[in-house]
Symmetry: C2
Subunit: 200 residues, 2 copies
């Protein structure tokens, strides 16, 4: 804030990004200083544009230029099934499977009491509003972490009194993985979640 030297100010601004330390920040700053003006201009224009144009979809809280977003405004998608995700990259990961034709809801976080993130900090109110309008199933696709599981449980408790079915994406050994290298928790989950293959 009080930093007057423009180069140091830029280094500090880069260092505030996740996964970028002081040294990387300095490297990025000097790269921009040495690079063509166009490279720097495209970056700062893109940052300014994204903060100006991108907002939350008023229905599902996805990041979008148009409100409602392309998923909420697509009449071919099934509004009776809502997939709840932690973040937009999570939404994009599910969309890439090509298997899901319902709608989404983005929480923009998970319950994390230790970090001071409670239910009011997530976009749960918007989810509740939707549940009254013909939603049959909520698929909770938060990450299989402690916080993700707690959030899933919280959502299930919100949905059940309203008569909405709540499901959770399966956890287990990833396809292509080797049991030998799977961690114990994942293996325990895979055992507990075993499914009948038919037969007597």
């Amino acid at each position: 804030m009080a930093e007057r030297d423009p180069i140091r100010r830029l280094v500090q601004a880069f260092a505030r990004l996740p996964g970028i330390g002081e040294k990387t920040a300095a490297r990025l700053a000097f790269f921009l200083l040495d690079a063509d003006d166009r490279v720097a201009r495209e970056l700062y224009e893109a940052i300014a544009e994204v903060k100006q144009k991108i907002r939350l979809c008023s229905i599902c809280c996805n990041l979008t230029e148009a409100d409602p977003c392309r998923f909420c405004s697509d009449p071919r998608r099934d509004g009776r099934v809502v997939c709840v995700v932690e973040s937009v990259p999570g939404l994009m990961a599910i969309e890439r499977t090509g298997e899901f034709r319902g709608r989404y809801h983005v929480l923009h976080g998970v319950l994390a009491p230790l970090d001071g993130v409670g239910p009011d900090d997530l976009h749960l109110r918007e989810l509740m509003t939707r549940l009254g309008a013909g939603v049959d199933e909520v698929i909770v696709a938060t990450n299989p972490s402690v916080e993700g599981e707690a959030t899933a449980l919280y959502i299930q408790r919100l949905c059940t009194p309203l008569g909405v079915r709540t499901t959770r994406i399966a956890s287990g050994v990833p396809i292509g993985a080797d049991l030998e290298y799977a961690d114990q928790v994942t293996l325990s989950r895979a055992l507990a979640g075993r499914r009948d293959m038919g037969g007597p």
Copy 2:
């Protein structure tokens, strides 16, 4: 360029930075989207400011807000010794030693014929201009890489006819390192550069 989606445009702009791949770029973009507006504003303002305010020192080609830069305008520094570095981070590294009280010259690169970088692409003309004006010694502090050595040799050939002494920073085993783990080239250099310790 033709990209219309603001989020994808930002991801592409980040991915153009060195050491930042598609996935990291996406992570940074979504971080900025979710973060406080202030974080993004500080970053793009810092980039815009740096490109607007920072220019090359007309004497030593250091990056600076004021021309000449603080090293060239400091009367307590010895203008008879000029330390030539590849880049501003190199200059800062030498400055951090606190041992050098001469002036600097920043090449902004090294000779790299394979990458199409020739003598005209470095700030050698500015260096030549300075050599006439009371410079006794040029310390070449380019990196000890193939390109850095070639550049050092090139500078030495420029300086010698003008009667300017050229020196090269020492290469060898870094302080605190273990000989067992030093690479062969470094060890050969350390042997070749051995110095008398006194005695008969």
